[in-house]
Each structure stands twice: as structure tokens, then as C-alpha cells.
């Protein structure tokens, strides 16, 4: 029948279409993760526009990468049958960076570089032998309570949350 005789042609163009969809999906999934990382590099300048784009992408990338991953799994499954072995290898290699990006979209790599203080604890002033007298501290005082945050520690963690004299604060450096 007509349908059967046309089938190899159709199938070929459909496969091409699915391949294209696969590649586009992967590129989008990677881009939404890579672009904000690229823009917000520590020793590079940032424009207001660049920050806006980064913010928007960081917000949507956890959802978008999941959708892209599911799409790629379905498209790959569709392409799998009838693909030669080397094409199957290529399909797997193409999908891996997207899965990595999907995971990365849920990470905060700035907190890999500077881990948040996971064990907040304080020493009485006269027992804090780990601070030299000549070291600078950020000192805060509120309602009779005084706290010192050594600059050495703050230059690494950058922010520490605390309650001082009943007021919740975030110490930043």
C-alpha cells in the first residue's frame, strides 16, 4: 500500500527530526545551567543585565533541566531501536552532560568554594585561644550581649547567622 511504500522515506525524515529535537533539548538544558555560571565568575565584571539573566536562569533551571532530561530519555528511547551500535554510544554520550547539568542546577557551587559554617559554636572571650590578639574581629553588641566574629573565619564563610541580644542577624564580610 501507499503507506507501506512511503514508510522508509517518512521514517528517515522523522528520525532526522527526532535527532534535531534531541540536540536542541540538550543544548537548551545545558545553556540554562552554564550561562549563569559563566556570567557570575568571581574575577569577571558583571552587568546588571547579566545578573538579571543569571537570576532568571537560576530560578527556572531546576525545572527546565528535569523536563529536558525526561524529553531526552523519551527521544533516546525512540531512537534506540533501529540505531546501529555506534549511534547508541553517541546517544548515551550526548545525554550524560545534560544529566550532569540537571544535577548541577540543584547545587550551589559558591558553597563548594566557601562552605557554610555547619557547626556554629562560640567560645567565651577568655577561652578563645585560636584568635590572636592582633587579629581583627567584627564585633557586635546588642542588649548586653557581645559577640566577635574573627575576620579570618568570616573571610572564608562570608556569612554567619546568629541571634544577638534577641535580634536575629546575619554577620557578613
Amino acid at each position: 500500500m501507499n503507506l507501506i511504500s512511503a514508510s522508509p522515506e517518512n521514517s528517515k525524515s522523522t528520525r532526522r527530526l527526532v535527532w534535531t529535537a534531541l540536540l536542541v533539548t540538550i543544548v537548551i538544558g545545558l545553556a540554562v545551567v552554564v550561562i549563569p555560571i559563566w556570567i557570575i565568575q568571581p574575577f569577571k565584571p558583571q552587568s546588571q543585565r547579566g545578573l538579571e539573566v543569571s537570576y532568571a536562569l537560576r530560578r527556572i533551571s531546576p525545572y527546565l533541566t528535569i523536563i529536558a532530561s525526561l524529553g531526552v530519555v523519551m527521544l533516546t528511547a525512540w531512537l534506540w531501536r533501529g540505531s546501529r551500535w555506534f549511534l547508541k554510544v553517541i546517544l548515551v554520550i550526548l545525554a550524560l552532560p545534560l544529566f550532569a547539568a540537571t544535577w548541577m542546577a540543584r547545587q550551589n557551587h559558591f558553597e563548594w568554594m566557601f562552605k557554610p559554617h555547619a557547626n556554629l559554636a562560640y567560645a567565651p572571650a577568655h577561652e578563645a585561644a585560636y584568635v590572636d590578639d592582633g587579629d581583627v574581629v567584627l564585633a557586635v553588641q546588642n542588649h548586653g550581649e557581645a559577640v566577635a566574629y574573627p575576620v579570618r573565619l568570616m573571610a572564608y564563610h562570608h556569612l554567619v547567622q546568629d541571634v544577638v541580644g534577641g535580634t536575629p542577624i546575619v554577620a557578613t564580610y
Binding site: A128, D133, P150
Partner: protein, 233 residues
């Protein structure tokens, strides 16, 4: 240093990025991005809101310990390798790092010059830290408010005060040969300590009002205080 409650909501902050060499924090509750140095939300649902600033000092531990014997001190995180913490002279080492920002660099001072910045009313002024160390105390007027800035004998601790008491301006100079920094006011000869309190003389017991000071690099201060003045001899 900021209050972490905004519109009655307690926020929990994370380091979330960097904007022209000043870090951005993100709050878990709304996902907004906040600029560390200004305490202002720059993106997200809370954009335009400002965190309320909390008065704080940058002083040496030795000085603080004497003043706050009942105080508590943040401990290092035992899960962070000791070598991850930078050396104590971090800000001096950072002064070797080039500045690469989107804004035009102001040529008044080299970008990494450490300055002590103050804001009084709507006016801001920056004092190069080296100048301040040499001249401490500096008496000045910023937008009509008489202030005094000083650096302790340790060469690191910085404090600022309004040098006015019941409408009366005071002129300060450092007492010679005292071990700790002691100021004398020219009007009454009273002695003042580093906390801005008169410890002897006719004004003994009186307290000057503090002025918040921020130690920062010139480029960053200028970035967030574009109309700032700069102290000159």
C-alpha cells in the same frame, strides 16, 4: 552586618554569587538576591527592600576582649580544613588582586586602597586607612555633622563618633605617651577612651554617639557611594 528579619519574616541566607567583587546572598524563603555591602535586594520578589543594618565594629581581638569580658567568639568549623581559612592579613593580601569590574574605575585613589567609609545623613566620606593611622584622631565635619575618627594603638581597630555634646562641638587630640589611645578634648581637657567615653575631667562619664564605619576597598566604596567625598589633608 544585617538584621535577618524582613517584613516580619525570618530569612536564611546563602552565599549565591558575586557582583563586581562584592558577594550576593540568596534567601531560602523567597529566593531573592541581596547585595552584601548595601543590604539591598537587587533581584527577586523582595527587590528594592533593604535589610536593617546592625551597628558593629572592626577592632582587634585583644582590644575587644578587654572591653567585652563576658562576650562570645565564633569558633572555626571543625569540618573545614584549617588551611582553608585565610591568613589574618587577608585584606592586605587581597590588595594585590587586580580589580576587574563593569563600572568605570574612579581615579581619585588606587582601586584597592583600604578606606574607612562613613555615611552621615545623605553624605558619605572615605578616609584612606593609612592616612587615618598616621593622623588618628581625625576631626572632621561631614555634611555639617562634626565627627572624630580614630585608630587604636594596635594600628587596626577603628571607631568613629559624633564629636558633639549637647550642641557643643569638641576638638580632640591624642594624649601623648599613653599606652592605650586616650583623647583629650580642647574645650575641657577631659580624657576620652576608645569607646568614646570620658574617663576623667569635667566631662567624665559622658558618652559620644557612635558613627558606623565601614572598612572597604576604594573601588567598592565608590561603587555603592557614588557621591562620596574623599578626605584630604
Amino acid at each position: 552586618m544585617w538584621e535577618s528579619v524582613v517584613n516580619g519574616q525570618q530569612l536564611h541566607f546563602h552565599l549565591a554569587g558575586i557582583n563586581n567583587q562584592n558577594f550576593i546572598m540568596r534567601d531560602e524563603e523567597t529566593g531573592s538576591w541581596w547585595q552584601q555591602v548595601s543590604g539591598e535586594a537587587i533581584l527577586g520578589p523582595l527587590k528594592g527592600q533593604k535589610l536593617r543594618s546592625v551597628f558593629h565594629d572592626e577592632v582587634t581581638f585583644g582590644l575587644w576582649k578587654k572591653e567585652q569580658q563576658q562576650g562570645r567568639v565564633l569558633k572555626p568549623d571543625p569540618t573545614v580544613p584549617a588551611k582553608s581559612y585565610p591568613p589574618a592579613n587577608w585584606d592586605e593580601r587581597m590588595s594585590q588582586v587586580p580589580v576587574n569590574i563593569a563600572q568605570n574605575l574612579d581615579k581619585t585613589l588606587p582601586p584597592r586602597t583600604l578606606v574607612v567609609g562613613i555615611t552621615v545623613g545623605t553624605a558619605s566620606k572615605a578616609y584612606p586607612f593609612e592616612t587615618l593611622v598616621k593622623q588618628s584622631p581625625i576631626i572632621d565635619d561631614v555634611s555639617g555633622v562634626p565627627i572624630v575618627l580614630m585608630v587604636g594603638r594596635d594600628g587596626k581597630s577603628v571607631r568613629g563618633f559624633q564629636r558633639i555634646l549637647e550642641g557643643r562641638k569638641l576638638e580632640f587630640f591624642a594624649k601623648k605617651d599613653s599606652q592605650e589611645l586616650v583623647l583629650l578634648d580642647a574645650e575641657t581637657g577631659s580624657e576620652w577612651d576608645f569607646t568614646g567615653k570620658a574617663i576623667s575631667g569635667p566631662l567624665a562619664g559622658r558618652q559620644l554617639k557612635t558613627v558606623p564605619v565601614l572598612k572597604d576597598y576604594w573601588f567598592d566604596w565608590k561603587n555603592y557611594h557614588p557621591t562620596t567625598f574623599v578626605y584630604e589633608l
